[in-house]
Amino acid sequence: MTHSGPRTGTTLASVAEAGRSAALIGYLPVGFPSVDGSVEAMVELVRAGVDIIEVGLPYSDPGMDGPVIQHAAEAALECGVRTKDVFTAVEAIAAAGGTAVVMSYWNLVLQYGVADFARDLDSAGGGGIITPDLIPDEAGDWMAASDDYDLDRIFLAAPSSTPERLDRIVGASRGFVYAASTMGVTGVRSEVDDHARGLVSRLGEAGAERVCVGLGVSTRDQAAEVAAYADGVIVGSALVRALDSDGVAGLGRLAAELAEGCA
């Protein structure tokens, strides 16, 4: 199957082949501070050495997000961001040579049409979708649509997940498994939970090929700590905060520092 854009498995494999400790995965919501502004910021992430860009789709009820991302999403919605804008961002990232995945609460994909979303994401050059409120048990339509376009299905695993749940998540996932480092929502934390290391090793035992860790990582040192045991380090709120307070230049500086942590 030919893809218009790279899948995350390929990107993560090339990071490993290059001898780096882990890939850096950066999240930004489309439409914040504006659609054009967010696209410019995402392209800057690619330039600064972020391996995979998570393009967030702002949602009115972001139950998994802490205050930083909530406020960015609210601002983006007030400015009139639409679901289709996510494909504009994905195209720009792919054109800049980056790997793009979408992170979306499920209702937005459902209302667009699961098969239509998969088709348009693939043709825009996107690699797959991270689904924070969709568990494999409810993902029948998405399993089929992602198979049709060979898109990555990135499900979340949590410290509370039982061995049976981890088996199910690993079996359903493609690309990588998103290990939530802590029991909680997105946000900057002073320490990344010890839970993360244990969860990554349990996912490995369950047969996960690649595991990336998110929730709470904001500094180069934290990135380096996680990079020592995970295939990828996911950073969200810290990047959104940097973009908000220091603009694209400040965002690029933080991204470059985090990338050093994953060297």
């Binding site: 009115s60 009820d61 998994m64 459902l110 209302q111 969709l134 410290p159 998540i169 029991m183 929502v185």
Partner: protein, 404 residues
């Protein structure tokens, strides 16, 4: 306790399920297991029954409303008096059941979302009774229009958090409670106040509210000598309605009506009528009818009644709507407020504005069915909490009067 409806989740037709972060799945599994075991454990059912009788004041009365009935086409009208429960609404039935389950699971802290404040008060009450910590999330707009209930919760020892995100109403309070729960799930039980949320909440909450319909069915057979022609309830999330409806779903001759908040009219766009102005989607953990824009962003709901001001509805209602077993109709703010005044003046009973939607809807149904009909209406709560809203609406506060 028998479950009079056969639907036990996780799906009600095409609706329900668990659209929720993976982190909460083990907690939901534990709740489901504890709940199912408790249903057949006499130690649990006896304790619940004891509290229902000696604390809530069950069974609640069935009152015939003869003067109000004149405004319902002359039909015989019976009110199921959930307003007489301790704390003033049906919400305590569920809060008590879930708090007892939480104790069984070894939880020490209860959290809740609340709109009108009745569920928050009920949860704060059972937390005090059972010596548990309690924290309630309430939209900032609702803390203002239901200030008396905020004071009640605080007096009962609960911490009340005004939620300033999004539309600052019930849906945002629910988001915030979910965020608290995922971070504190080890010691905390989230007492969802309605038949919504991820499985097993819709089925479990209905099981704790079933007592309304089970009692009412027996009482009306005794009082009227037959089943009612129609049963009526207001539907926000829909727990008082499911609690009443479940007992009558199998009685094919009984028409069932749910009344949603029509706000300023469905055509105005300012309403909470999910079945008239919404479509299926996913919100707060379940697939159901929701108010949303073309992209799937949740649209703000509107109602004079804080308890019905919610853009989603319990998934079993969506199923009952699609199968046609229950008819859902909007009742606008004006109709509900007029019904509130009418019941107050004809029967000396001040209903909650939520319940007044059921009364207004029943007035329509009574006129359709005529004077031979028997109507059963769930009077889900009392209106004390709504005095500020009512006083403003009807201009009852004297100029210069000081509210202390």
């Amino acid at each position: 306790m028998t479950d009079v409806s056969e639907e036990t989740g996780p799906y009600f037709g095409a609706f329900g399920g668990r659209f929720i972060p993976e982190a909460l799945i083990p907690a939901l599994d534990e709740i489901e297991e504890t709940w199912r075991k408790s249903q057949v454990d006499p130690a649990f059912t006896d304790e619940l029954l004891d509290y229902q009788r000696n604390y809530i004041g069950r069974p609640s009365l069935l009152t015939e409303a003869t003067r109000f009935a004149k405004h319902c086409g002359g039909a015989r009208v019976f009110l199921k008096r959930e307003d007489l429960n301790h704390t003033g609404s049906h919400k305590i039935n569920n809060a008590l059941g879930q708090a007892l389950l939480a104790k069984r699971m070894g939880k020490t802290r209860l959290i809740a979302e609340t709109g009108a404040g009745q569920h928050g008060v009920a949860t704060a009450t059972v937390a005090a009774l059972l010596d548990m910590e309690c924290e309630v999330y309430m939209g900032e707009e609702d803390t203002q229009r239901q200030a008396l209930n905020v004071a009640r919760m605080r007096l009962l020892g609960a911490k009340v958090n005004a939620v300033t995100n999004g539309t600052r109403t019930l849906k945002d309070a629910m988001n915030e409670a979910m965020r608290d729960w995922v971070a504190n799930v080890d010691a905390t039980h989230y007492v969802i106040g309605t038949v919504a949320g991820p499985h097993p909440f819709p089925a479990m909450v209905r099981s704790f509210q079933n007592v309304i319909g089970v009692e009412a069915r027996e009482q009306i057979l005794e009082a009227a000598g037959r089943l009612p022609d129609a049963v009526c309830a207001c539907v926000g999330g829909g727990s008082n309605a499911m609690g009443l409806f479940a007992a009558f779903l199998g009685d094919e001759q009984v028409k069932i009506y749910g009344f949603e908040a029509g706000g300023e009219g469905v055509e105005s766009g300012r309403h909470a009528a999910r079945f008239s102005g919404g479509r299926p989607g996913v919100l707060h953990g379940s697939a159901t009818y929701i108010l949303q824009d073309s992209d799937g962003q949740t649209r703000a709901s509107h109602s004079v009644s804080a308890g019905l001001d919610y853009p989603s509805v319990g998934p079993e209602h969506s199923h009952l709507h699609d199968t046609g077993r229950v008819t859902y109709e909007p009742v606008v703010d004006d109709e509900a407020m007029e019904a509130m005044r009418l019941l107050s003046r004809t029967e000396g009973i001040i209903p909650a504005i939520e319940s007044a939607h059921a009364l207004a809807g029943a007035m329509r149904i009574g006129r359709e069915l005529g004077s031979d009909a028997v109507l059963l209406i769930n009077l889900s709560g009392r209106g004390d909490k709504d005095m500020t809203t009512a006083a403003k609406w009807f201009d009852y506060i004297d100029e210069g009067a000081v509210q202390v």
